[in-house]
Structure formats: C-alpha cells, structure tokens
C-alpha cells in the first residue's frame, strides 16, 4: 500500500521539471521564489491531504473550495468585526469544518446518497451562504487592525539556518504554512499508513462489501474520512484568509477542490479508491505549484495556467499506466524466460487473475 516506486517517480519528475525551469530561468532557484512556492505548497497541500482521505474511500469531496470561502469569511468576520479572540474563532472554524464533513459523510453513508451529489450541493450551498454572509462584499481587516501572533503563525517565515547561527549565516526563509503542512502530513502519514483506522480506510476503499463482511464499521470509517477532509479544509481556510487578508466570497477558493483532486491523482491515487499515499499527494501538490510557477517564470501567458496543469496531469497519468503495463509485460517475459530454472511451485497459473481476465475476454467476444 505504500507506493514507494510511484512516489519516487513523481519525485524524479519534479526534479527534472525543476532543473529545466532553473536552467531556463535561474530566478526559479532564488530564495524569494522558493520561499513563495513553498508557502503555496503549504496552503494547498493541507486541504489536498484532506481530499486524499476522501478519495481513498472511493468518494469525492467537491465542496472544499466553497468551504474555504465560507469558513474564511466567517473567520475574518469573527476576529475583525466581532472581536472574538482568534484562538476561540479558530476553534469555532475547525468545529464547523468537522461538522460539515460529518454531515456529508452521514448523508452518504446513512442516506446512501452519492458523494458527488452531496458534495456538489455543498459546493453550491456554502458558496451561496458565503456571498450572502458578506452581502457579496469583500471580507477583510479594517485598516490598522493586526493580529501579530496569528499573523506570525500563519504567514510568518523562519530562516532556520539564520535562527540557529544567530543570523551569521542565512538560508531560505521557510514559510510557516509549509511547516504546518509538513506536520499535518507527518501525522496523517502515521494515521493512514500505520494505524487501524488507516488500514480500514484502505479496506473500505478497495471493497466496501468485503470490509463490512470482515466486521469493519464501514459507515464510521467513511464519515471519519469526510470529517478529516472538513477539518483540514477549515485549517487551510484560516491560513488562506490570513494569506490573502481580504476575501471576495464569490471567487475565493474557486476550483480548489479540483486542485486537491488533481494533486491526489498525480500522487498516484485512484478515484476508485483504495490506493494512494500521503507522500504521493504532497508530491502532487508540490508538482502542481512548480507548474504554476513555471508558467510565470517562462513567460507563458498566464491564461494558459490551467491548460499546462491539465496537460501535465493527463500525460503523467497516461505515462504511469503505460509504464505499469510495460513493467507487467516485461515481468511476464522474464518469468517465462526464467522457466523451470527457478521453480515457484505455489505460483499456480490455474487460478490467478489471468484466468478471470481470459474468461471475461472469452465470454465477451463478439464478431
């Protein structure tokens, strides 16, 4: 289930793209550019990880962008206009994120609604409520209002080398959003790959029926996945609100859910569920940001931004499948070639998937 080979391939791809861009435009490797890109990776990575949990169950969460808009305007309103202390406001926002995820999950598991439908409705509803909440006006901080500690936490940057050497040496200042994303990723990595819940997620995603017949409470597992997605969307809504400082509810967070899905798909997730790793989705988020950066740095018209990302995802996924097919063929040839030299007596050719596949082909045949 750990997909090291795929992750490694993606890592190499990022390195190659990065090297090419750096060769053409050395500004790619400038401290400012790296720092800014890392910041965006952090912001987008957080909710992409959440989306990944839903995708593993074979579901989809389309309301992430709208949730980020709605929770963002509420957060700004709470701390800027209503004087709610920001830790309390953050807590409220996180609770709301969890609640939204729970509602989605329960509608999907209890009422047997399709994830696409439920979360599509969420997308529409939250966006509409967000616009109504501010009467379609921009939510922002009044002039001169500052939240020093909160701003430091969410939008600050720390130069680690500088910190350790009392600024004698300096390196690239790392944005805190990126740090935070790394912490989230590490925690979620343990959760997904090493806990009972993580294993149950994979089981439910692979075959919900079989999971249920093994005594897994599949409904709870799925609801939990949506709740995790909701809470991570809420976390990133706070970070994004502080990053943009002003939120236009009609456009803030537009398409972010698709960005998250794209990151997961690039990272080796299957939309059928049951496949993918945390490292994969983080690398996917990194690659998407590098691509956006590339568009800017190479002087490609920024209107082509989506087109570039789309093309790379398409080619990437296609290449990955072709490579998998190629590897399978090669493996088969090698095994035939190895012949009786390496006996594998239990590798029964009678009963593997081969016959199933062959059976389907034989039965389906038409002139």
């Amino acid at each position: 289930m750990l997909n090291l080979k795929k992750d490694l391939g993606l890592f190499v791809l990022i390195m190659v793209v990065g090297t090419v861009v750096a060769l053409i435009n050395p500004r790619f490797l400038s401290a400012v550019n790296i720092s800014n890109t890392a910041n965006l990776v952090g912001l987008f990575g957080m909710f992409s990880i959440g989306e990944a949990f839903v995708i593993i169950t074979g579901g989809i969460e389309l309301s992430v962008g709208s949730m980020i808009a709605l929770l963002g305007v509420i957060f700004v309103d709470l701390i800027a206009s209503r004087g709610v202390p920001w830790p309390v406001a953050s807590f409220i926002i996180l609770a709301m994120g969890i609640l939204m995820g729970l509602v989605h999950g329960l509608l999907i598991t209890r009422k047997r609604m399709q994830p696409f439908v439920v979360t599509l409705c969420g997308l529409l509803i939250y966006r509409g409520v967000a616009r109504f909440y501010t009467a379609d006006a921009t939510a922002g901080f009044p002039f001169g209002v500052h939240f020093e500690y909160l701003e430091y936490l969410t939008t600050g940057r720390t130069d680690i080398v500088g910190l350790l050497t009392d600024d004698i040496h300096t390196s690239i200042p790392i944005p805190h959003a990126f740090f935070f994303m790394l912490i989230v990723a590490a925690v979620m990595w343990v959760v997904l790959h090493h806990t009972v819940f993580g294993r149950h997620l994979y089981a439910v995603g692979k075959n919900e029926e079989a999971a249920r017949f093994s005594g897994i409470r599949t409904g709870r597992v799925i609801v939990a996945a949506y709740a995790i997605c909701g809470v991570l969307a809420a976390v990133s809504s706070i970070f994004l609100a502080m990053y943009t400082r002003s939120i236009l509810p009609s456009s803030h967070g537009n398409f972010y859910e698709l960005y998250a899905i794209a990151a997961a798909v690039l990272g080796g997730f299957s939309l059928r569920g049951g496949e993918g790793s945390i490292i994969g989705v983080v690398l996917g988020a990194i690659l998407l940001q590098v691509l956006q950066n590339l568009v800017n740095l190479l002087g490609i018209p920024s209107s082509l931004n989506f087109a570039v990302s789309g093309s790379v995802i398409l080619i990437g996924v296609l290449a990955d499948q072709e490579y998998a097919d190629f590897r399978e063929r090669r493996e088969r040839l090698r095994r035939v070639a190895a012949g009786a030299a390496s006996p594998r007596p239990t590798d029964d050719p009678q009963t593997g998937n081969g016959m199933l596949a062959a059976g389907a082909r034989l039965g389906d045949r038409e002139p």
């Binding site: 294993r199 075959n207 079989a210 005594g215 897994i216 006996p343 594998r344 081969g354």
Partner: protein
C-alpha cells in the same frame, strides 16, 4: 441457422473435427499441461475433470486462443495450427459458457443473444429491427427447450435459464463445441436437471459439449466419456459405463479418496444461539426459529432463493431484521452491524468469496488480521511483526499454500482463499460460525480440508451452520439438516434420517411438518 448448418460442416459425422495432439504448456516452475491429446467428435459430451491446478483452465485458455502452447498442434477440420488466435477459435465454432455469466441484466433475452450483432433497418438510421431480432432468437430457444421467451428480461431468469441464454448465444455463433466451465456449481438441484436436458438437446443437434466440473454426479449423468487430468497430465479416459463417481475420484487424486466426512467426536452440547421467530427483510412474513448447538454442524439446505443467505446475513448483522429475537447463550442480542456480531463471536464465511470474503488486493496477512486489527496494535500503530507472526501461524495450522504470507490473496487458488477467510475467524474466538456455500468451486482435496476444519471447530465447542446446495455435502457433513423453503424452515432432519429425497421434498415445500417435528428441535 438451423441444425443443417452444423452437418454441412466439412467433417463427416464420426470423424473428429477437432484434434489436439501433444499440447504442452509450462509456466515457471509448473508444467500446467503436458502432452495433452484428445479428439472431439460431433454430438459427444466429454467430461473434463481434475482438481484445481490439474490443467483444465490452461486447456480452455489454449482452446480459446488466449494462451499459446509451448508445443503441440490443434487440428481443426484437418488443418493443423500450432496455436489458435481468439478469432480462429471462434470461427472454428468453439464457444465458452463461463461460471460467471456475461449477460446484461437490464436487457431482454434476444438483445443479449445478438448483442453487437443486432439486425438493423432503415439504412443509415440504423435502427435495431426488434421484430426480426426476436424471430431470429426464438428458434435457438426452442431448440434448447427453453421455457421462457426471447422477450423475457434476463433479470427475471434463474441461473440455469441464464446459462441457456449463453448457450443460445453460442448456437447463434454457429458453435460446434460448447465448453461449459463449472456450469452446475452454483445451481440447485432442480435447475441442474434443466441444464442436463439442455446438454442432451445440444448433443441431439450434433453439437459437441465439453463439460468441466467438480460436481462428479452431474458428470456421470451428462457425459459420454471423461478425461481425467492430474498435475497437467491425462491420467485416465473413462468411457460409457466406466464413468463412475468412484473411478473418477480415484484417478483425480491418484488414490482412493474417501471424502473425509468425520463423525462428531462427542454428543452435541447445549444451545449457544437460539433464533426465535426471526423475520428477514426479504421474507417479512416468514418466521424462522432454530437452535444452534455447541459441537454440532447444522446443515441448511434449500433451493437458491429460499432465504438461507438472507438468514445468514441477518444473523451476522449485515441486514436489519423485521422482527423476532436472537438469544446468544441466553442473553438477547440484536446485532446492528457486522462489527457487533464479530465482537460477540458470531462469524460468517460468505458465499461470494472474492467479493465479500476477501480483499483480493490485500496480502494474506492483512486479510487475516483485518477483523481484529486492534489486537495487533502496539500503542497507536499496527505491529507488522505481530501481524506476520499471526499469518504464519495460520498458514501452518490451515495448510494455506502460498509462497509467502505477503502475497495478494487474489493470487491464491479457491481452496486456499477459503482457508484465508477461515483463518480470519479462527484467529479470533468463534462461538458461532456460519459457512455459506463453503466449498463452491473448490477442488476435492481442499474440500475435505474444509470439512475437516469445520468438524474440528465443532468438536472444539463451536456451533457451525453450513449453508450448502451440494446435496452430497449436506448429507455427508451435517449432524442435522434444516431445510428452508420460501423463507421458512420447512423441516429439520436428524443425521440418521437424512435422505436426498426427503431434503428435496422439503426444499420444494412438500415436506410434512410432522416429520420435521419428530426429528426436531430437541
């Protein structure tokens, strides 16, 4: 498109139209098929039997043009081929009817038979000519003696009737050899009879049939001659009267195999699980009352659709019930989910091994530990080492044949897969285990293994319920047999009184309840 088509084929009536010589196919480490030779003549029914892994599937794949043999020739109407392509196999008139049928439930019979080849009308508009379609399909159905029409929806057909549709499809493709792969393994008795009639109809039409099956009784009934395979080699030909159950088993396993139906080691114990007036969703008006005893294997027979699986799912907490009570060792229980049943020690080995029993993409280890994963957690994380130790232990205890416990469960043979399903539950503390068709599609050797394990469980004080459509198995294995009909228990027979006839009568709802009470629930 009538029977004359077949006789106009180039082969004369008693010459073989298909001849296989010295077909050999090896996979790394295994010779799957070695020097296989056979002739196929018009209108003969050839049985192909052998344990799983004997080479039957490989032979079918070669005949279907899916696999290339290493050596040997396939001669069709006197023309020798080193290997067949899929289209050569088709034009030679070789057709397959697989265990898993490839029909579209939402379409009617005619549409299924001519799918992709529908007659068209109105030129460029290219509309399907429904009238003509039905007119074309009906004759095939008539020839097979089908009791349904070409306009019946496939979703309303029984399994045997669906097989008939597949066979009609084969006929419409001018098949000369129809290969039936395990056609009866999921059919209840009455349906099997129908299929055997269809085979006779094919034979009468001069079409050869190759009957691949583990159900030897049907092989005896259907086949003119039988080829027995073991470890990729032909170990015997049986002809005419020599085709007997014993002879086949002897050849298949290479020794006299008494399918080990062990008798219980001790008298049955007290009641563990008591089902009282339980009503399932499918049969909301039918009440089921039955007791499961410690140390007893209770067989549950009945026709497919009699409500046996529904009962099992209700007991396992998969489906909600409509009413009634379940007492587990005297305490009333109501399992709202399978998780609750599992924690109470009530387990189910489901009917659909590949879809429900196992996660085929998970390793053997992960399948075994799945229901009880928290037992392998050290702190918050799962200990792979503990998991592996458990899997290795299960592999030893149940003799699961796999190169490693880390291989995908999907790569195992049917019997070994079933052992993995069983290992999941044996690793925990079973009080009641329900087996739903535990040996379907499993070879003779693995079957006895499963029976032995079931008996061992019962002897260790577990209550075992075995749902089975295999009469031989029901009678051989069970200490007591309950028969279901339309959602109700139509009778319970004690081991001594268990005769196939009685079970059948109860299964079709003609049994006397008095008889049931006598044998009864004491």
């Amino acid at each position: 498109m009538s029977a004359t088509d077949v006789s106009s084929a180039p082969s004369r009536s008693n010459d073989p139209f298909l001849r296989l010589t010295a077909i050999t196919k090896s996979y790394p480490g295994v010779v799957a098929l070695s020097d296989f030779a056979a002739d196929v003549r018009r209108g003969e029914v050839i049985g192909l039997v052998g344990e799983n892994g004997a080479g039957k599937s490989t032979l079918m794949k070669i005949l279907g043009g899916v696999t290339t043999p290493d050596r040997g020739t396939v001669e069709i109407d006197g023309v020798a081929h080193e290997c067949l392509t899929v289209s050569q196999s088709m034009s030679a008139g070789i057709a397959f009817v697989h265990q898993e049928l490839n029909l579209f439930d939402n379409l009617d019979v005619a549409a299924n038979v001519f799918i992709g080849r529908e007659p068209r009308k109105f030129g460029l508009l290219n509309i399907v000519d429904g009238k003509k379609l039905h007119a074309m399909v009906q004759p095939y159905l008539d020839r097979l003696g089908a009791n349904f029409s070409s306009s019946t929806a496939v979703s309303r057909l029984s399994l045997a009737q669906r097989q008939m549709v597949e066979i009609a499809k084969a006929l419409s493709l001018k098949a000369r050899l129809v290969i039936l792969d395990e056609p009866t393994s999921s059919l209840p008795i009455a349906e099997t009879e129908k299929l055997l009639k269809v085979i006779a109809a094919l034979k009468a039409n001069g079409i050869a049939v190759m009957f691949v099956s583990h159900r030897l009784n049907e092989v005896v009934e259907a086949c003119d001659r039988v080829i027995v395979l073991r470890d990729g080699r032909i170990v015997g030909h049986l002809d005419g009267d020599a085709v007997t159950h014993d002879a086949m088993v002897k050849l298949m396993v290479g020794r006299e195999l008494k399918v080990a139906y062990a008798a219980p080691a001790s008298e049955r114990g007290d009641v563990i699980l008591s089902v009282q007036k339980l009503r399932t969703k499918t049969f909301p008006l039918a009440e089921v009352s039955i007791d499961f005893h410690r140390g007893e294997i209770l067989g549950l027979a009945g026709l497919v659709g009699a409500g046996r699986t529904e009962l099992a799912h209700a007991l396992f907490g998969i489906d909600a019930t409509e009413g009634g009570a379940v007492m587990l060792e005297g305490t009333p229980v109501r399992f709202a989910s399978s998780a609750e049943a599992v924690s109470a020690g009530v387990f189910l080995v489901p009917e659909d091994r590949k879809g429900m029993g196992l996660l085929l993409d998970f390793a053997i280890t992960e399948n075994i530990t799945l229901p009880d994963l928290s037992a392998y957690a050290r702190g918050l994380t799962i200990s792979r080492k503990a998991e592996r130790a458990r899997a290795e232990k299960s592999r030893g205890e149940l003799d699961i044949r796999a190169p490693d416990v880390a291989v995908r469960a999907g790569s195992l043979s049917g019997g070994n897969q079933q052992k993995v399903v069983l290992a999941k539950w044996l690793a925990m503390n079973p009080r009641v285990i329900i087996f739903d068709e535990p040996t379907r599609g499993i070879d003779v050797g693995a079957k006895s293994e499963i029976y032995r394990l079931m008996r061992m469980l019962a002897d260790s004080g577990v209550a075992v319920l075995m749902i089975s459509s295999d009469m031989e198995e029901v009678i051989g294995v069970s200490d007591r047999v309950a028969v279901m009909h339309q959602g109700r228990i139509s009778g319970i027979l004690a081991r001594a009184q268990c005769r196939e006839e009685d079970i059948l009568r109860l299964a079709v709802g003609r049994g006397t309840t008095q008889q049931a009470n006598q044998a009864g629930n004491t």
